[in-house]
């Protein structure tokens, strides 16, 4: 592995960001976090497109699908996107439209995320 896989975690729950962030860092990822879609776009703008965006669906200000649409509208390099869903799952059509790498249902531990990314071929 030449360079660590860069992951942007997006969730409005600070404790979730803290817990998942620690897990992913310890697993060797380079992790940045944002507490909603708009903040995530700021991070992308400042630090460049990560390899993976792992985002919650429901968030204030800008929700997960809106964030993904904004990212997909960009002409630059595209991240893999993993959507973490709560009680409101997305339809298959939406998953296709948003070109998601996948969707995982809450509650979810760090291991499942790491397995998913590695199963997807990493970066």
């Amino acid at each position: 592995m030449s360079r660590p896989i860069r992951v942007l975690l997006v969730d409005d729950e600070a404790l979730i960001l803290r817990a998942l962030g620690r897990y992913l860092r310890r697993a060797g990822f380079e992790v940045s976090t944002a507490h909603n879609g708009a903040a995530a776009l700021d991070v992308v703008g400042a630090a460049g497109t990560p390899d993976w965006v792992i985002t919650d669906v429901r968030m204030p200000v800008m929700d997960g699908p809106a964030l993904v649409r904004a990212l997909r509208g960009d002409t630059g390099p595209q991240p893999h996107i993993l959507m973490i869903t709560g009680h409101s799952a997305l339809s298959d059509a939406e998953v296709g439209d948003l070109a998601l790498a996948g969707m995982l249902q809450k509650p979810i531990d760090g291991r499942r995320i790491v397995d998913f990314i590695q199963g997807h071929g990493g970066a």
Binding site: L15, I16, Y23, R26, R58, K106, P107, I108, R111
Partner: protein, 510 residues
């Protein structure tokens, strides 16, 4: 003659007897003129009738133009009245009545109908004793009849208005005897028979003397009183709720003629409302339980992540103890978050029974509890929810009920803005000159002027069927009153604002 008129007489009969025939005729003429009486004299054998000048003028006719026959009269009587006239005349001729008397309408020359009081008597018989003449008078009583009819109509209207009133009310005289009562009153209190008017109302008033005794005395002194909800417990410990109102009524001359009493057993309504309040509490609890489940899931999720992290860390060599410590610290924070939510729920929902005593509460603490219950729902609806309260602000009331009102308002506001791009709900507190205002604001579509007048009514809702009972606000208002607060819609739109205003807490009150 003049001397004789002014001369003292032993009586009117003696006086008349003393007059000459001409003088008598002149007197009679004057009297008839003054009394506005027209005279008729009917020969029953050939139906010829002598009408005098006043009889003719009463109908706008000239004496010389009127044919002296019965037909001059009968052709002018209102067709609906003529049968009654003949019936009464026949009854008199047959000897069934001492006088003939009938009020009927006659057509005046100007086309209008005049009410005529017609009176007469058989004035001649043939040798066999058979009546052959009748003599009588006409008097125009139109003004009197019209007034009488208007009065009768008015009375009929009033009686019917009272009879069909959906509330038990009675009008009593100074001796507390019935003058009038609504049908509901008669049924409710078992007042039977046809002759209840004029009967004493003691049967009802005696039963409720403890409640109404003073009120009746005050009303007879001109002071009205009322109570919207009064519990009365009988010997068996059964409580009845009464609504009553006792008001003096005045005669046209201004004297107190008696009292009007409105007395209603509203036990059923009170019970329905208590039940509705209990149900609304349950519904609010349900809404909050949903929020709480969501809210508790989140710290549980964090703990699950940290548990997985620690388990894997323990398998590593070497184990990084600092990582485990950091992980446990996050898990502790999550645990604290979960406990805070449970504590808030208990603070808000702890029994809301009538026995609760009002307490002083810190607004910021109350708001924190509400925020922890409602913010999950706000997040689920993608609504921005903010709470702000100056430090040290306190209000006095029933904490669970005040909490329920605010949760209810916040949930309504969240509903109002859900699906809106920039939906925002704000819960805030401010100090006013005479108390404390707790406000819930939202930037939703607002409330129309027509709806604004009705939002506090029971069962009024703009939510789709199945989404709200429409009881929320009306119950919230009742709960607010129990805490001495007032709930009102203070702004219809941009933002929509509901305010719960509390009076100033007296220094030293606990």
């Amino acid at each position: 003659m003049t001397d004789r008129i002014t001369a003292p007489a032993s009586g009117i009969r003696a006086f008349l007897d003393s007059l000459s025939r001409d003088a008598l005729a002149a007197r009679l003429e004057l009297a008839l003129e003054g009394a506005r009486l027209g005279i008729w004299d009917w020969d029953l054998r050939d139906d010829s009738v002598q009408f005098d000048r006043r009889w003719c003028e009463m109908l706008g006719l000239r004496h010389e133009e009127v044919r002296q026959s019965l037909e001059s009269w009968s052709s002018r009587v209102h067709p609906d009245d003529i049968d009654g006239c003949y019936r009464d005349i026949q009854a008199h001729i047959a000897g069934e009545t001492d006088y003939y008397e009938n009020v009927h309408r006659m057509r005046h020359a100007d086309g209008t109908w005049r009410y005529i009081l017609d009176r007469g008597r058989v004035s001649g018989h043939d040798d066999d004793g058979k009546p052959i003449r009748m003599t009588g008078t006409h008097l125009d009583v139109t003004a009197f009849e019209e007034a009488k009819r208007a009065l009768a109509d008015k009375r009929a209207q009033m009686v019917q208005l009272v009879r069909y009133l959906p509330t038990p009310v009675a009008m009593l005289d100074r001796e507390l005897k019935y003058i009038e009562a609504s049908g509901r009153w008669l049924v409710e209190f078992g007042v039977g028979g046809r002759d209840w008017r004029g009967r004493a109302c003691t049967q009802v008033l005696g039963r409720y003397d403890a409640v109404l005794g003073d009120a009746l005395r005050h009303a007879l002194d001109g002071r009205p009183s009322h109570c919207d909800e009064q519990p009365v417990t009988d010997g068996d410990g059964v409580t009845t709720w009464l609504r009553w109102r006792v008001h003096p009524w005045r005669t046209a001359a201004g004297a107190i003629g008696g009292v009007t009493v409105h007395l209603e057993d509203i036990t059923a309504d009170v019970e329905v409302r208590s039940k509705a309040i209990a149900e609304a509490r349950l519904a609010a609890l349900g809404i909050m339980a949903g929020g709480i489940a969501h809210e508790i899931n989140s710290p549980l999720h964090v703990m699950m992540i940290e548990q997985g992290f620690i388990r894997e860390e323990l398998d590593r060599t070497p184990v990084d103890v600092d990582e485990i410590r950091a992980s446990l610290a996050t898990a502790d924070d999550a645990l604290r978050q979960a406990r805070g939510i449970v504590r808030s729920m208990r603070a808000l929902l702890r029994s809301g029974r009538h026995g609760d005593v009002p307490t002083c509460m810190e607004v910021s603490a109350l708001f924190a509890d509400i925020a922890s219950l409602c913010s999950a729902m706000a997040r689920a609806l993608c609504v921005q929810f903010s709470v702000q309260s100056p430090d040290g602000l306190t209000v006095r009331g029933h904490r669970p009920q005040v909490g329920q009102i605010l949760v209810n308002l916040v949930v309504n506001a969240l509903d109002a803005v859900s699906g809106q791009e920039d939906g925002a709900v704000r819960l805030c507190a401010e100090e006013a000159p005479d108390g404390v205002l707790l406000k819930v604001l939202d930037n939703g579509p607002g409330i129309s002027e027509a709806d604004a007048e009705r939002v506090m009514e029971p069962f009024f809702t703009t939510k789709p069927v199945g989404k709200g009972t429409g009881l929320g606000l009306s119950i919230s208002r009742t709960l607010a009153e129990r805490s001495g607060a007032v709930l009102a819609l203070t702004r219809r739109a941009e933002p929509t604002e509901f305010t719960l205003s509390f009076p100033r807490v007296e220094a030293g009150a606990s």
